[in-house]
């Protein structure tokens, strides 16, 4: 799946987690802009993993700070 198609899918998945309706760009950070706490992160990562049938380990999550980095990581993990 290319970046555009991956981004579109992720946009759909993040919607219910974006409780405050923050406008999301590639630069939006999960901890800062989206105010995701650790529980939200776990549920959100699980939703992404299940959708794309991938693993995003905690080690990889530590490298992902913003929305754009997440899309790049998911594109890469799909191989």
């Amino acid at each position: 799946m290319d970046r555009a198609a991956t981004a579109e899918k992720i946009a759909g998945i993040i919607e219910p987690f974006n409780k405050k309706g923050v406008e999301i760009t590639d630069a939006s950070t999960f901890a800062g802009d989206l105010e995701f706490d650790s529980l939200t992160v776990m549920d959100f990562v699980a939703a992404i993993e299940d959708e794309f049938d991938i693993i995003i380990s905690m080690n990889q999550q530590a490298e992902i700070e913003n929305y754009g980095q997440l899309i790049d990581a998911v594109v890469k993990l799909q191989g």
Binding site: M42, D43, E49, S57, M58, Q60
Partner: protein, 399 residues
């Protein structure tokens, strides 16, 4: 002033605000005198202890104390050395023999604390390129062991068998896999469906480590823990445990049937690069473990205490962590930290000590008052405790 301590400012502020309201500090309690496994003088008051991990009440067992005194006389105050150099005495081998018998396993390795047992075994067994699949509510020592070992760490939702299965199925072929579970999760006192979870782990060819810190001596026909209780102890590759709960002293261990287990003594850094336990500690642990093999009556009484307290607090209107008692831990859920701290203080003034637990130790950002029962609590004490909870709960406005 900004320096390396600035990152602690939010926590310092939270504490300052809490204590400014005249709140007694929940994290700075001093026990001036310990009367028995269930009573102490805390901050000047006679207090019933309901927040220790002294599940089997072994701390004042006369045989245990006598063994410790004898070891002090015979072997001195400490070993001043690592287990692999000058720090292995007869007592260290004796307590490892006791553990092997207690669990019916081939190998036992004793660490200086339970924290170090998890830190050491996990980081040594699962290294770079291996995968650790673990419950999101795992104890801090498990997370720290993961971090120390450089393995890929993949958490799944608490006790969610399907989520665990899916994650194991996605691990690249050929990679080493370790599944880490706990028998009893200490924050809510709930147990894991180990039978189902271990079957799933084995289906994927993973090794299984189970932390039975909060079940030893109490759960299972021989007190070996939740895996024994559910009939799957033979499928567990590593059981991690501690001497600082039911055993009543301090120390940690791993027992295993793996044929190459003994090599860990040479490659496990938290085992090698620290001093071994003092002779008196391993002597008390050894005596206590052997007594716990024959503690059926105490186990039965502890279960009674757990059931009565659970029922009493439920009837009083408190919200508890589990709908039925699953262990010796009963967690009372508080609406928020302020109310929780106020309730904790009200109980202390009633003469009852419980644990105040707050994030990040707790799941789902909960504030909990954790009650842990002891086999030495009398039926009368349990009724007294329920009365104290009722009065404090009304005074604070929780029930």
């Amino acid at each position: 002033m900004t320096d390396l301590f600035s990152k602690f400012d939010p926590l310092i502020e939270l504490r300052t605000n809490l204590l400014a309201q005249g709140q007694e500090d929940p994290f700075n309690l001093v026990m001036e005198r310990v009367v028995s496994p269930t009573e102490a003088i805390c901050n000047g008051r006679q207090t019933i202890l309901l927040g220790t991990y002294n599940y089997m009440g072994m701390t004042f067992d006369p045989d245990v104390i006598e063994a410790g005194k004898q070891a002090l006389d015979d072997f001195g105050a400490g070993t001043t050395g690592s287990r692999v150099l000058n720090g292995t005495y007869a007592g260290h081998k004796a307590v490892e023999e006791a553990l092997k018998e207690f669990y019916g396993m081939d190998h036992a390795m004793v660490f200086s604390t339970g924290y170090q047992a998890n830190l050491g075994i996990i980081s040594t067994v699962a290294g770079k390129g291996d995968y650790i699949v673990l419950d999101i509510d795992s104890h801090a020592s498990i997370w720290d062991g993961c971090k120390l070992g450089d393995a890929e760490v993949v958490p799944f939702k608490h006790n969610d068998i399907e989520a665990m299965d899916k994650r194991l199925g996605r691990i690249p072929e050929g990679a080493g896999k370790l599944v880490i579970l706990e028998g009893v999760y200490s924050m809510l006192g709930d147990i894991a469906p180990l039978k189902e979870m271990i079957a799933v782990a084995k289906k994927h060819g993973a090794m299984v480590l189970v932390d039975e810190a909060h079940s030893m001596g109490f759960i299972g026909p021989n007190g070996r823990g939740v895996a024994e209780d559910q009939g799957v102890l033979d499928d567990v590759d590593f059981v991690i445990g501690t001497f600082s709960k039911s055993v009543g002293t301090v120390g940690g261990f791993c027992v295993s049937n793996h044929p190459k287990f003994e090599i860990l003594r040479l490659v496990c850094r938290p085992y090698v690069f620290t001093a071994s336990l003092p002779p008196s500690v391993v002597a008390t642990a050894c005596t206590s473990i052997r007594k716990l093999m024959h503690a059926g009556n105490k186990r039965a009484h502890l279960w009674e205490n757990s059931k009565i307290l659970h029922q009493g607090l439920t009837e009083a209107g408190f919200q508890l962590g589990t709908s039925e008692p699953q262990s010796a831990i009963i967690a009372v859920i508080m609406p928020d930290l302020e109310k929780g701290a106020a309730m904790w203080e009200a109980l202390l003034k009633e003469g009852l000590y419980v644990n105040l637990a707050r994030p990040p130790a707790t799941p789902a950002n909960m504030t909990l008052l954790r009650c842990s029962l002891c086999a030495e609590h009398t039926a009368e004490q349990v009724q007294t405790i329920i009365g104290m909870f009722q009065r404090a709960g009304k005074a604070v406005g929780i029930i």
